[in-house]
């Protein structure tokens, strides 16, 4: 994958405090006449250890944005950098989780969680010799998400919420600096979802990885994120960025406070304007 611009890294390199920087990115699927523009001039900066949420109408290019940041797709125009390096292939420093937990049914929960270690360097080389240490780490993570004692269960024996917890563990097992979540709690019932908000918040506060969370749940965005980016309808770009000035750790009680509710309303207003622009 070639660089989109003949950039001079010394001057155009991203500033140190931005762990992820997406600058003026276009993405076109397909070529020529049949091409479909998913993103048009999207820009987002995320601080190291920050928690960014991306909300927007469905089909506006949020999942595409995740693929760009993790280096699964090259942008048509613009640059993306992660951890100070311009992304030009799979980034290795990221963990990912999706709405579909995609656990492999022939592996136990523990083996599923350890799957990234069999793939990503440098763990891949060390896994055989340090198996015990890695297993201990996996058990710690399971405990942190409330799955103590489920390590040897098959994934189909877990409920939807538990599978999503395991999926979160799998995304974090190689201690990534960046966690990419694409509507991770979208398929869960309201109670399980709120439980997982607090699990995720706790993990993030302890470990301070950088998070980009795509969600269609505005309360979820406000509960978790320090900054929320609202995307326009396709071709997606950022139409508003909103800081959430509420102190961590946030609780379910906070979601009923006026400050919280006001932010949710403000975001809803942005989104409905974007949706009207489409129809």
């Amino acid at each position: 994958m070639a660089l989109a611009e003949p950039a001079a890294p010394s001057t155009a390199g991203p500033p140190q405090d931005h762990f992820v920087s997406i600058r003026d990115v276009d993405l076109v699927y397909g070529r020529g006449e049949t091409g479909m523009q998913a993103l048009g001039g999207a820009s987002i900066e995320v601080q190291k250890g920050g928690f960014a949420a991306v909300v927007g109408p469905s089909g506006c290019g949020k999942s595409s944005l995740m693929k760009l940041v993790t280096g699964l797709l090259p942008p048509t125009k613009g640059t993306i950098s992660v951890a100070g390096k311009i992304v030009d292939g799979p980034v290795n420093v990221a963990g990912m989780a999706f709405q579909n937990p995609t656990l492999l049914p022939w592996r136990s929960t523990l083996q599923n969680i350890m799957l990234p270690l069999e793939v990503v360097e440098p763990h891949r080389r060390k896994l055989r010799r340090n198996r015990k240490d890695y297993e201990a780490q996996a058990h710690d993570l399971l405990a942190a998400v409330g799955l103590t004692g489920f390590a040897d269960r098959a994934p189909w024996q877990l409920s939807g919420g538990m599978q999503q917890r395991a999926s979160l563990c799998r995304a974090l097992i190689h201690q990534p600096e960046l966690l990419m979540l694409d509507e991770p709690f979208g398929a869960l019932d309201a109670f399980t979802r709120e439980e997982l908000w607090s699990v995720l918040q706790k993990l993030w506060m302890e470990r301070r990885f950088t998070v980009i969370l795509v969600t269609h749940d505005l309360r979820e965005a406000v509960y978790l994120a320090d900054t929320i980016h609202v995307m326009s309808a396709r071709p997606g770009r950022i139409v508003a960025s909103r800081k959430v000035p509420l102190a961590y750790p946030r609780t379910l009680e906070d979601t009923f406070k006026p400050e919280f509710v006001d932010i949710v309303h403000e975001l809803r207003h942005h989104i409905s304007r974007e949706r009207q622009a489409v129809s």
């Binding site: 699964l72 022939w106 799957l115």
Partner: protein, 273 residues
Amino acid sequence: MTDTVSSPAAAPKRRFQINDNWAPWMVGIGALVIWELACRIFAIKPFVLPAPTAIAASLWKWHEVIAVHAAQTLYTTLLGFLLAVVGGLALGVAVGYSRFLYKALYPILIGFNSVPKVAIVPILVIWFGIGTIPAVITAFLLSFFPIVVNVAAGLATVEPEMEDVLRSLGASRRDIFFKVGLPRSMPYFFASLKIAITLALVGSVISETIASNSGIGYLMLNASARFDVPLVFAGLFVVAVLGVLIYAVFAMFETRFTGWATRAQAIRFEGGG
């Protein structure tokens, strides 16, 4: 009545299980009894429809000859099937792994599969003479297609999200193939073995009836030429038993090696959200 009252919880369950296991036997035995009675009551000639007892007698009378021919049929079936497993697995993996090979080979495979294989046997006879080789090749030709298609389909069902997770970690196509694609296609592979082994038997018997001097197919053809209809039916019975037995063996392999697939499926159907 008192029985059901004394053990209200266990009774319905036990009765249900008995029905389950014995139903096919009872239907089978019932059909044989009706067949036997019909033959006797209507005095049907043995060369039109022999009675089950006549078939059993023939089976006993010729059991040594039948055993030799059955062994030959089993041998060509298994050999053809073995070749089909190796070839089908290799081709299925190739087609499922490479988009180019998929595009290039899939239409040809479909076309090939729609050729009636009986029509190929005379050509095989020209090349290889009559006997074992045409039977093995016919068994192979019939049974390898379902293996190819199933393995390729299994490889194609890898979830795109799973691929994204692994690719973003720097996994190569090879990694994804061995960690996800191949294990995922195993249930499809084992399911196809059941079908393939049955088709291999069909292929062997067809080839034996056309071009052979041994095997159950040959035995049946020979017997029918001599109007020994009970022996024809005895041959048919042996083929049926062989078919059921080999099917059962591979059905057992399937549950043994890829039980996770059926169990995972069952749960997925139950749990909606």
